[in-house]
């Protein structure tokens, strides 16, 4: 497929792929660093649960819902002042990481919450009966038992981030989406657009396959002796 692209375009494609991977990786890492503890808290703080704080749970739930219900392209524009504050600029690849992270963190939090809630409450009860503290229950029971589901959740989050990262191209972020818009669309170069789409498909495929494989390896529930 690279035969029909000029060497200059191929270079651009490689650079754009790197930029996309960079944005997704950084936004994914920071988003997980925020979303994982937030998700654990959301899953364990309703009344009667390990870290019961129903009021805080409710407020955080509202904030997460608000962030999740804002269309990503609107979010990018709406938080430009915040992006400037953090990244010093609102244009470019690094600046794009800010809205990507802001979108990813609540999404990841909800996915982690769902994964943790899937863990059998009987296991929590057993751990409590052993004298485990709430933090030990999270560290030794909830997170390890939910790990396959968490792996799939993060895989889904990364796949979504790849899609979002293409959208930030529309507002001056770099990466594959930017390349596709500027060359494929604005300069009428359908082969560039096709190349961008193919690279995105390959990226998503690779991430999903790796995530599935890892989750299957971590899941010990369906083994038979």
């Amino acid at each position: 497929m690279f035969d029909i692209l000029s060497p200059a375009i191929v270079d651009l494609l490689i650079e754009a792929t790197k930029a996309t991977l960079y944005m997704v990786a950084v936004a994914g890492l920071i988003g997980t660093a925020i979303g994982l503890p937030l998700g654990v808290f959301l899953a364990t703080s309703r009344s009667g649960e390990l870290f019961a704080a129903p009021w805080l749970n409710h407020v955080l739930g509202l904030v997460v819902n608000a962030a999740r219900s804002t269309p990503f392209i609107i979010l990018v524009v709406a938080i430009i002042p915040f992006t400037r504050l953090i990244a010093g600029t609102s244009i470019g690849t690094s600046a794009a990481i800010v809205p990507l992270t802001v979108a990813a963190a609540p999404f990841i939090a909800r996915l982690i919450e769902a994964a943790i809630r899937e863990v059998d409450q009987g296991l929590v009860e057993a751990a409590r009966a052993m004298g485990a503290s709430p933090l030990q229950i999270v560290g030794k029971v909830l997170l390890p038992e939910a790990l396959p589901a968490i792996t799939l959740a993060l895989t889904l989050a990364v796949v979504s981030l790849i899609g979002y990262s293409a959208m930030v191209g529309a507002v001056g972020g770099g990466g594959l989406g930017d390349l596709g818009i500027r060359f494929g669309y604005q300069r009428f170069m359908p082969e560039v657009m096709a190349a961008v789409v193919i690279v995105l498909i390959l990226l998503v495929q690779a991430v999903q396959s790796a995530g599935d494989l890892l989750a299957r390896h971590l899941d010990k529930r369906n083994r038979r002796g």
């Binding site: 057993a126 409590r128 052993m130 004298g131 010990k220 002796g225």
Partner: protein, 368 residues
Amino acid sequence: MNAPFSILPPPPEVARGTDVTPSTIRFEHVGKSYPARRGTPEVAALTDVDLAVPEGAILGVIGRSGAGKSTLIRLVNGLERATAGRIVVDGTDITALNEAGLRAARRSIGMIFQHFNLLARRTAYENVALPLEIAGVSARAIKERVEPLLDLVGLSDKRDRYPAELSGGQKQRVGIARALASRPRVLLSDEATSALDPETTNQILALLRKVNAELNLTVLLITHEMSVIKAVADRVAVLDGGRIVEEGPTYDLFARPQHPTTRSFIAAVAGSALPPYVAARLKDTPAPGGEALVRIVFTGDHATDPVLSRISRLLGVDVNIIQAQVDEIAGRPFGVIVVGIPNAPETVAAVLRSVEQLNLSAEVLGYV
């Protein structure tokens, strides 16, 4: 007729778990109610429960679904908190502890569960190690503790298997090993055999008996099956509507059940339910030329006596055996027999009198 009784060994002198030993678990006027919520009034799960489990004994609490069994057992290790009364476990007032105190107390109270509650991503070995990890025991000390435990429950060859690779009985063995890891004085068994088939149930109950005897472990178990009580419990408490309606040594309860709930539980295992073709014809009043059905319970020293032939000979009464079953409860012979005798009131009275003279209990079930 009496042959099955006479071949049994004489009953042991002393039953296990008598009242003289100190109690390891004591409930004193314990109540548990759930506060009223919008639309639902306050619910009393347990009311004025007094119960003592003697040291080293196995006490079984039996009740139907919703009787309050689960709540009762969860009060012992503070998974639920009592709203009235005191619960003293091994000298510690559980009801007075805060969360940190409870966590410490729970380490000397093991618990096993109906659905095993093993961690799916930990091997058998790692599951047994979990309570020790929680207690901050070193990896070396854990190894020294876990391996003999897996040996004790007969699972040394499965140490690196995940729960999904184990059968139900094997999973419960891991559960038992895990419950014993922190060397508890008390074991709580929450319907531990209810998810198992009868044969596996017997194996698990035998294992419970074994650890109870070898480790002098005090066991409180809850179940809805009288067969479990019969197989392992020294004492039994019957829970109905959140109250203990009857409590005592298992043998006595089988021999002389007082409460209707107890009777119906016993009927399911001790052969005291009549065969359907007899039960269908049973009437409250005698019919001319018919028979009175009398149930005689053979217990204790007299369980091996040739009672029926003696009655038949002394009273000159024809005795028609409708149903007979002999069993062993808490290691002592126990028999239930239902006989038909002529329904003349004086005959019935004479038979009941002579049975009672032998210190056995008898009752008229009805007439056919």
